[in-house]
Symmetry: D2
Subunit: 298 residues, 4 copies
Amino acid sequence: MKIGFIGLGNMGAPMARNLLKAGHELTVFDVVQSNVDALVAHGAGKAKAATTPAAILKEGVEVIVTMLPAAQHVKSVYLGNDGILSGNVDGVILIDSSTIDPMSAREVAKAAAAKKALMLDAPVSGGTGGAEAGTLTFMVGGEEGLYAQMQSLLQAMGKNIVYCGAAGNGQVAKVANNMLLGISMIGTAEAMALGVSLGMDAKVLAGIINTSSGRCWSSDTYNPYPGVLENVPASRGYTGGFGSDLMLKDLGLATEAAKLAKQPVPLGSLAQQVYQTFSLQGNGGLDFSAIIKLFTKK
Amino acid sequence: MKIGFIGLGNMGAPMARNLLKAGHELTVFDVVQSNVDALVAHGAGKAKAATTPAAILKEGVEVIVTMLPAAQHVKSVYLGNDGILSGNVDGVILIDSSTIDPMSAREVAKAAAAKKALMLDAPVSGGTGGAEAGTLTFMVGGEEGLYAQMQSLLQAMGKNIVYCGAAGNGQVAKVANNMLLGISMIGTAEAMALGVSLGMDAKVLAGIINTSSGRCWSSDTYNPYPGVLENVPASRGYTGGFGSDLMLKDLGLATEAAKLAKQPVPLGSLAQQVYQTFSLQGNGGLDFSAIIKLFTKK
Amino acid sequence: MKIGFIGLGNMGAPMARNLLKAGHELTVFDVVQSNVDALVAHGAGKAKAATTPAAILKEGVEVIVTMLPAAQHVKSVYLGNDGILSGNVDGVILIDSSTIDPMSAREVAKAAAAKKALMLDAPVSGGTGGAEAGTLTFMVGGEEGLYAQMQSLLQAMGKNIVYCGAAGNGQVAKVANNMLLGISMIGTAEAMALGVSLGMDAKVLAGIINTSSGRCWSSDTYNPYPGVLENVPASRGYTGGFGSDLMLKDLGLATEAAKLAKQPVPLGSLAQQVYQTFSLQGNGGLDFSAIIKLFTKK
Amino acid sequence: MKIGFIGLGNMGAPMARNLLKAGHELTVFDVVQSNVDALVAHGAGKAKAATTPAAILKEGVEVIVTMLPAAQHVKSVYLGNDGILSGNVDGVILIDSSTIDPMSAREVAKAAAAKKALMLDAPVSGGTGGAEAGTLTFMVGGEEGLYAQMQSLLQAMGKNIVYCGAAGNGQVAKVANNMLLGISMIGTAEAMALGVSLGMDAKVLAGIINTSSGRCWSSDTYNPYPGVLENVPASRGYTGGFGSDLMLKDLGLATEAAKLAKQPVPLGSLAQQVYQTFSLQGNGGLDFSAIIKLFTKK
């Protein structure tokens, strides 16, 4: 299939390489020229460069995948002067895998529909590791038939392709899940730090929580207390994993969406402030489970 | 075995009945005479009444189990004028299944040791349903040998008997687990209410969270959104289950323990305030998953 | 002076009338035609209508004042197709009195400067009462010389005209002050409700606080406890005053600005959530001191 | 007058010296012998030592003043084996100036009344500086007649002697005021840090807030931003003043009292957590306005 790909950063580049590996031909764009050059070189004849988002359309692509840092970039790439929707997108399938707020996703989807493009929002989870390995989870919003049609394409980049409902719902699912994740991680960190400081062994405490009603992914799969689990960031100095500043970004999306929806999210909001405090102290680059450092003596 | 039992309320009475069912002989005490009468009648000759906690010791019991509402009652029953420790407790095994703060538990354990009694703190989870069915979880703190020796006795009342370490650690485990539970429940309620208000189907959203990093007991086993799971309080008007005011009590124990241990618990503390607000509005008797009502329009 | 005025709502209409009263001639615009008609009628020959924001410029105005509900309206009125900056604004003085986030204010100011307009951001406090009475406080950001030049014009509408520094700083001052106001009001409500529930007389407690270190405007000038002060919303059923939903809006601007500035604002953020909860329960129309209802039994 | 004085620490010692200065004769007790020796030496014949709290009564004192660190010490000094109430206190006036929770104050007052003693709770504000200078504020709970009778005695140690109502209300007033103070200080710190980081001058911002609705003691009298006010801890490296750990203690009393009174105090509770976090990072000894360090880059 002929595919356009816009956004060749830490996530986008390995996703694009997985599409090449699956036999697709790519036309790519990125604001950083070296990112473009690297991907074109990697493509060995199957990948070429475009000079603007709209220029990709002239290559006769059937699908364009975008993977961008924030809503402002998505709006610029789709709605800007040389943006995708400035070209002829009639019948073209547009898949935005950026993580942005649901309202912006729906605004872009509406603009795309007005130009007769077919659009899905499909944010991912799984991090750069999942992007490299092709094991990402895609949370997909848009027409169910289009989702079904695109499933095999997305499987070149991911393992779980989950349908979430109408346009924007992929973003809703991601933002809701990640807000709960941020809350659970801080909650687990508080509970582990409290228990240990009151005299319990960390592994024993985790074992009890993991078979009780406090059980959660942050406790049984990604425990923030060093030494409880092997092969998690907590056991290698909080390197790798999902950065605290990325969690902070997602909590910002969640509280923004909540504000627009007039929904109270007291714990989600406080979780954002806890990560903001942690980031101000210079820890934004550490894995998000490092938040336990706020609750333990240095 | 000859066993003393003090505290025949909603939890204590069915626990005592399960001990009778297992063939033990009981001497019981409660400040409410009708509770005592009912248990003695149920015992059909195998249960008799004592007039004070200390009086139980005169019946030659090997073990005394206590199940009381709060630390003040535990201190009164053990340390008061006619309290257990005012009698001869040399070699007697004392098991306190009340949920109280770890510091009070350790204070009583120390006083018991000074009188040569053998003491375990063994708070439970599982609610009145688990107490009736004999399927409670016991979180046990104290000497490991004593724990091992008492395991079969406790199995007459519970299913999982978990060793948590030295004296007071049963309370630490319970308080840490339940604080995380309260946080996770509010977090799940916020995430579900937010997602639905942004246009997602509740079951679809729960399905995604339950296979993602937001997964937790509150989401996959006890989801607060009506209709997502059958046979949970959310699907029967938030009746039964674990009352909001009981969760409020446990969050109070957690923040009190955190204060004494000089540990920050920002989310645990806010969870307490959220439940306090909910209780003030007259909802303390509803199951604790009803907290989602704070986040949904009436 | 010939002045343009855009935005004739609850705040803008009385402000425009005060300009007429001071002898200025107005050309006005509003999306609601009846608002325009009312003002033109009131003007009795000194006020005429324009059909678009840009059309106002054709009337040879020296100054345009805008008073709009939110950043999206400000952007549309200044940057839109028929917006002010689409006309010839060379040398025209633009004063935006809307309350919006500082970043949007600066974006518009920058666009205005590129067109050689002279711009001030000048949000107000004082509510509709102050707008009627001409006693508003203006917090002004932009060139200091321009501020000095406009002071007398602004005094037709307000009493205190405060210079806050460079472009956008008027909004910064407003957002910082109102965030602190929201926090102080909830804090005062918590302290009053706590003290009274512990047995103190509300007036005695307020008297002590007002001469001690807890003293604040919310306590000594606008006390939320009914009966402590006369002539405040608390003593007339929380009618009139500054609506809870307006405080909620300002807290939303504050936390949004904090997010962009990477600043933690834990209490500001929780204050937003407390007002969001109060609003969801149907109280958004009550004065913001009514928040004490969350802390008192019905 | 013959007066007993118990608790000769940083606050108690200068208070006792002020009583001597006013011509009273003292009998003193403290668990630290060197504190006792220093006061007796200072008394030059007008102060003698007692070996227990109860022993003071044998010296024929009319009044006993106590100034102790926490409720546990107060209970021990009044209710313990050699405590004041173990002696003959018929008609003796007891004044407790310790800052403790209102419930404990009332428990002690009730026990005193049962022994026919006359008791006031009279916690102070003003710090060690006010204790030295004799300018403390006393917040007094108990019988109004007794308060009137003791006013002149208290004026030997303080400037403002405020009547707060029935027994325990002195503690209620202090706890409510100081909770609001802690909230206002953090709020002021958030607002100042936010405004400055968005480009405002700190003095200009403080000037605007201090004449607007955000005005509070923490902003106009004790501003936490360095350089805004002279002669406050913020302008001398946060030394002196009222320590962060003392504010943390008072917030702990407030949330404890709120829990017992079933009152939500979301901002008070979060303020406690913010100070606990600050203390864990090693800053408990800094003045409480140093909390702004949590919101500013190092």
